[in-house]
Amino acid sequence: MKKTKTAGALLGFELKKLLGLINIAAFILLMAIKPLSGMMYTLAPTEYSKDIYHEYLDELYGAPTAEKEQYILDEKERIDDILSIYEDMILAYERGEITAEEYKAYDEEYTRAKAQQPAFDKVYQKYQYYLTLSGTEKKPQYFYDLEIIEYINGFGADVMFILFLTVFGLRFWGSDRTGGMSLAVMSSKYGRQYRDNLRIAALLIVSTVGSALSFCVDIGIYAARCGIGTLFLPLCGMEEFAACAYNVNILGYLLLVLMIRIVWSAAVCFMLVPIYKLVGNIYACITAGAAVIFLPLVLMPSLPEVMIKALAGTQLTGFAVLNNDMPLSIIAAVLTAGACYALSFAFRKLELKHIANNSA
């Protein structure tokens, strides 16, 4: 009981130490980058008119029906017809078979149809995708999804929180070494017995709360941009998420991504320990930590699939949810954390050597 109380009180101090290291300005900057990155996604050019695409989906909004199907088929026929007679109409006009007014009226229709075609193709593609879902559990809905897709993809590439966790996690571990406290702490009665576990626990608490806070900020920005009601639309309404087998709404998907992020953030908390113990210099330590976490993200396209499923950097992006590997991902995270915890014991002597050298 006494030991539990001591551990609890020491955990309070570890948390205080960790929170003392977190730079509020950096945290605010981090949060400011989120909406800015969202704006950049919006400014990204598309091959079709976003406004026309938006108009079509407003027209079709809701669950697919026979009327909507007919509307799409009629619209396809209309656009195809207008576009297909373009050369014939020119010839007809040149031959005097149609009047200038008739040609002008056609040309206006043609121009509109030409502008509508790329956006409509996207809608038609969506219609065809919905046909493939008929007879399954998934019940798609038409809705304007462009900004939602852009923003959710932004969620997936949310490297800022990972960066934050890596840098501050390693600074936290290195706070003794850079401050010359290691000798005093490690030569005390409980400085070794509790330290590793309590620091991991403190980091786990901060990373979980940080993930949740980051999620709340994301949801806030999402709601401001896309409307809070869209969170409850089915994920299967967007073909871009067709690979995801989980039949959830957008909010459910984001919560699954959050869960995986929390699990892998926890794994990262364990991963930082052997990195800290193995590398002597704290700056080299941060570089090594960032390399371990971020290199998989950079190398993702060329990594074998099995590695993608087991590397923190890729898993922190919510990759597992989209690829239906959540159970595997959680097992990989637990194994990674366990292996790193075992390594942290193996590297204890190395850490003491670094402490002795740093204070020589």
């Binding site: 020491l10 205080k16 003392g20 010359g180 000798l183 005093a184 005390s188 070794r192 402490i355 204070s359």
Partner: protein, 243 residues
Amino acid sequence: MEGKALKFEKVTKQYGSLKALDNFSTELGLGIYGLLGPNGSGKSTLMKCIADIIRPTSGKITYGGEDIYSLGADFRGRLSFMPQDIDFYSGFTAVDVIKYFALLKGLKYDTEAAQKALNEVNLLSSAKKRVGGFSGGMKRRLGIAVTLIGDPEVVIFDEPTAGLDPEERLRFKNLIREMGKTSTVILATHIISDIEAVADYTLLIKSGQLINTVENDKQAQTHTDALEQLYMESFGHKAEQEI
């Protein structure tokens, strides 16, 4: 010898071909022991061996007849070590630092007990201030307060008076004298006057070897001169003076 003895038996610490400690043997009981020697003489290695930061290549260190490394946390619970360059967590207040180290030593200090410890080193007025704003001398005094927590049986001070003003230096010496009555206090320094004022014995270390143990006569007027002379003879240059 009163109390439990800290005994070194042919302790050697080797880094490649370099011997940082070379067959170091002695026995320390209650009292104050000044470790005197130039940089690289092996003082730091010896202190780190006692604190179990590094372990000897050969030889044995025992406390009360038991190997200190076998005692592990039990021995560290009786030990207090104040390193030379200690820079406490900047976000902690002085009271936090005392409470934190008390917990690390397996003790429970409330704010009142922490303030009492700070009063011993004249830091009570800064008890609730963040350590990040402390001067070097204040950090030193806080380090001394941390060392005093829990009446340790073995105390190691590495250059404890660096950065202290004359008044604080005097206060520290009085504290050390008190500690020496109930603990084994090891005081590593370059400054002879620090040792001559408080130490019961001076251990002269050169190239990792204990070359001389001198019992100090703190009352004798000529003692400092004699120690200076001995230092000159042992190390071939003058010791640093108190600033």
